[in-house]
């Protein structure tokens, strides 16, 4: 099952945070990790804020059709 790009980004962010927290990076690397982390956090945050509404489908005998929510 493929993951949401959101989840992948969040996982990447977690890895970056842990890497930076290890304190084993040069200053250059650290600044790069930091910048990359902040931009990932921003992407994730934006994605969450901009999500609109769930898409609901019905699995008919014919296949997927729109689900009537009313």
């Amino acid at each position: 099952m493929s993951k949401l790009s959101f989840e992948e980004n969040l996982e990447k962010l977690e890895v970056l945070v842990k890497k930076l927290e290890s304190g084993e990076n040069s200053l250059d690397e650290a600044v790069k990790l930091y910048q990359e982390g902040i931009s990932l956090a921003k992407i994730c945050h934006e994605e969450l804020k901009n999500a609109e509404e769930v898409i609901v489908k019905l699995m008919d005998s014919e296949g997927l059709v729109d689900f009537n929510k009313e």
Partner: protein
Amino acid sequence: MVRQYLTVTALNRYLKYKFDNDQELSSILLKAEISNFKRHSRGHLYLTLKDDTSQVSAIMFVSNTKVLNFNPKDGDKVIVEGYVSIYEAYGTYQIYIQKMDLDGVGDLYLAYEKLKDDLSKKGYFAEEHKQKLPCFPKTVGVITSPTGAAVRDIINVINNRFPMTSIIVYPALVQGVNAKESIKLQIEKANQQGLVDVLIIGRGGGSIEDLWAFNEEIVARAIYDSKIPVISAVGHETDFTISDFVSDVRASTPSHAAELVVKNYRDVIGEILTYQERLELALLNLYNNYLKHYKQIVNRNVLKNPMRLIQTKELAYANLLDRLSMVSPVNIINNKKEKVDILIKQIRSEFKYLLKDRQNTYQNLIEKLELTNPLNIMKKGYAIVKQDGMIKKHYTEILKDKDLVIALNGGEVTTKIIAMEGEHNE
């Protein structure tokens, strides 16, 4: 012959004695329908039990009514446990009810207990067979009635918590004789199609008969075999079904299932902000560590007081010369002196190299951390001496007949050299 006449009381007492000593009548099980139901003010229940052609009076004393799990009313089909006896005052026989259940429910309950026991022994409820729910399901499958309240509750809650999610509703009958087959087929279909990351199977509240499909073995089997994690959400908080036990996670209601299946995006934003704070803190810590390290390097003697190294070497050299002059003829002294001169030149050039290397490191650190500025040093009263635009770091680099430029705090001064008086004898 004198005829013996009995009193009515004696007759009734005799009959009561007969009834009470009859094995069959002292414990009977009866299937019947209730009519003429009355609740006495003291709590005793008076009723008639009947079938298509016959009827019999019955009484249930208040002490026995405590364990009733339904409210009896006319027309209820019941199964009854009790004994038959005679009410002497009226000479009527009646059934004294000790236990009464709705007919059918008892059977269902027994079937439920038996299946639960069987499946438990087969390992259907084993903890090690349970699958973990995905953290962020892309698509949630819902197997339920497409027109029920349950599906609407689930959609609303997911929409409110994590609207990035998609939902696929697999329509199923959730009550009636065909429900079990319908639910089973949809679980299998969802697994074959592989479009969803997690399944919610359930329906809203109802009577035990309404929820019965979720107590069927073929439904339990389908849930057990599902490769997709399953959340069971049947009825209300207090309803427990076989599906609840066999599924990976039990939700008390359909809304609760929706809460379990997706995180609240507000909480996730909180997580992201925490990560951001951790990044900032980690970078700051690292920076502080480098700063500390840098200070340690700068404070080393060789950088703080470079002349001391040369002085130490020269002292050793002078000492050596003294010792040589004391023990050796002049030519040997001269010979040795040449060698020592070479040696000291080597020491000097090595030291210069070392010093330069340290200064480079020092310079790099300064640039990297942007901490110091030569202007700051000048503010403390130090000056830089230049000739021909080059910074002069040593007396020996100074040429007497050229202008000297002194850069100090606030500007530069160009001067002529009047005298030179170095300690050096090169």
